[in-house]
């Protein structure tokens, strides 16, 4: 009997030490990066984005609009950080956060208007989870603080880690 116990203890220790840790991953799919700052089409994209706000009327449409843009700017930030464009990436992540914060109120309004929001809530949960996954990866690849020195103005410190932490917090708080 003691042999069996010994075997089980050794086997479980072996599995604990050598097994690969696996975390649940969100199946939510983020979009490809679109036009980037600096591209001639980027300004057109911004105009289209502004006009779309009126086209996307209705609670669910507003949900889609804000989520699409939160996704878009998250991907934009990630790409820009990869290219070490920290200032532009910082701005993109701030935009993503701003659109993300607009999403929960659309669901509150939809519920108030008698719409079943359970599907949308599930999508939002998945999206938030995916965002957090990406933000964690992002944090590993950027410096904690980036000193930005514009030509004709005082230098500014961009606290990238703090922004990423705040972004994660915002996604986890929904």
């Amino acid at each position: 009997m003691s042999r069996i116990y010994r075997f089980l203890v050794i086997a479980s220790l072996f599995l604990t030490v050598f097994s690969k840790q696996v975390f649940a991953e969100s199946s939510y799919v983020l979009p490809y990066p679109g036009t980037m700052p600096g591209s001639k089409l980027y300004k057109l994209d911004l105009i289209k984005e502004k006009l779309s706000e009126y086209w996307y009327f209705g609670d669910f449409a507003q949900f889609d609009y804000n989520l699409q843009l939160a996704d878009k700017y998250l991907v934009e930030a990630k790409t820009l950080f990869e290219y070490k464009q920290y200032l532009l990436g910082y701005n993109a992540l701030e935009k993503s956060n701003s659109y993300f914060k607009n999403i929960p109120p659309t669901l509150v309004n939809a519920k108030r208007n008698g719409k079943d929001t359970s599907d949308k809530k599930a999508i939002l949960d998945q999206a938030a989870k995916k965002h957090v996954e990406e933000l964690i990866i992002m944090k590993k690849n950027v410096p904690q603080v980036f000193n930005w020195s514009p030509e004709k103005a005082a230098p500014t410190n961009l606290n990238l880690w703090k922004l990423i932490d705040d972004s994660i917090k915002a996604r986890n708080s929904i």
Binding site: F57, G58, N113, D116
Partner: protein, 376 residues
């Protein structure tokens, strides 16, 4: 004799309205007590009955248009029976051949009920709505242009949330626009024949009043555009053609002929309207033939070219189109019989639609009869 034929035609439509109720879907809970399941399970029987109806409809229709000069007097003395049959048709059950009227209801509900943009939000996103139980295109955004969606506000409001009432109201709306088309055809022609040819067509009656398709609204507005152009009311004419385009886009092809007509009017040049109407027929027929690019050839699309064909003097072509209309209405049979839209069904439908008509068309071209001018 013509009176008897006309009455028989009316009686046939009356019984056809009742026949449509064999196709009531059990998910359409408003009519649960009328569900028989025959349309779904006795496929051979209902396909044969449907075929018999179509054969009889078109034979009687052909006899009526062959004696079209005697028809107005018969209709004038039979107003009440005609109105009764029209009412029966409005209360027929639409899904015998198409679920489109349910799609109109779904789009109206998304737009005016939930106040969402129907070009972004699909009906399926409102899972709690009972509409999803009986509508078929719930996973699609709005397929129609904005003016149609705007018009659908009227039946939506008048239905007070009852989908059964909403369906009948859409069909009533289609019937009103059909009457509008008949009125315009009477105005555009110096004879009542084109209007009668159009109004009595089994394809027009079934697809407009039984199925409630909105194509009739688009064609009413297009005919109105040419009517106002003819009466030198250019601005109103242009407004109507744009409204027509904003129903279902197809009439955009009429812009060149309308603008050309307006140009000739402005220059005080006498217009050969018969030629303009024939050109409109050709343009709309091309769009009709190109419709498989988007989906497939639907029989109700034939209403587009037919609306202008009846105004031309090409009687043989009109007869050929009558036969073609029959072939189009017969397209429903393969699906009715098999319940399957795949496999051989699309090929059989294509063969049924074009092969018999093509043979007759070739014969008429060979005999130089197809485009001969000979008014109805």
């Amino acid at each position: 004799m013509i009176r008897k034929i006309y009455y028989l035609y009316l009686v046939l439509f009356l019984t056809f309205s009742i026949f449509t109720y064999l196709f009531v879907d059990s998910n359409f809970f408003y009519l649960k007590s009328l569900v028989t399941g025959i349309g779904l399970h006795d496929r051979i029987l209902v396909s044969l009955i449907y075929l018999l109806y179509m054969v009889l409809f078109f034979i009687l229709y052909f006899l009526l248009i062959k004696n079209i000069n005697r028809v107005p007097a018969v209709i004038k003395s039979s107003i009440l029976p005609t109105v009764i049959v029209l009412a029966f048709l409005i209360f027929s059950y639409p899904t015998i051949i198409s679920y489109d009227v349910f799609n109109y209801a779904a789009t109206a509900k998304v737009t005016f009920g939930y106040r969402e943009n129907p070009y972004i939000i699909m009906p399926i996103e409102f899972r709690q709505d009972s509409l999803l139980r009986f509508t078929q295109a719930a996973n699609k955004i709005a397929l129609y242009a904005p003016f149609w969606i705007l018009i659908s506000f009227i039946p939506f409001v008048l239905a007070f949330g009852n989908y059964l009432v909403l369906i009948y109201l859409f069909k009533l709306l289609a019937a009103i626009f059909l009457i509008g088309c008949v009125y315009l055809l009477l105005k555009l022609s110096d004879k009542p024949n084109p209007a009668l040819y159009f109004a009595l067509s089994p394809l027009v009656l079934v697809e407009t009043i039984v199925s409630g398709h909105n194509d009739i609204v688009m064609m009413f507005l297009a005919l109105a555009a040419f009517y106002f152009a003819k009466n030198k009311k250019i601005l109103i004419s242009l407004v109507f053609i744009f409204l027509s385009i904003l129903i279902k886009y197809s009439t955009i092809v009429l812009l060149p002929t309308l603008i050309y007509s307006i140009y000739l009017i402005a220059r005080n040049v006498k217009i050969d309207w018969d030629r303009i109407y024939f050109l409109n027929f050709v343009l709309l027929f091309i769009v009709f033939l190109l419709s498989p690019i988007r989906a497939e050839i639907y029989p109700w699309y034939a209403i587009w070219p037919l609306s202008f064909l009846v105004l031309t003097k090409k009687r043989n072509l009109i007869y050929l189109f009558t036969f073609f209309s029959f072939c189009l209405m017969a397209r429903y049979i393969p699906y009715m019989l098999t319940g399957d839209n795949f496999g051989l069904t699309p090929n059989i439908k294509m063969f049924m639609t074009f092969f018999p008509t093509g043979i007759i068309a070739l014969y008429m071209i060979f005999k130089k009869k197809l485009l001969a001018n000979n008014s109805l």
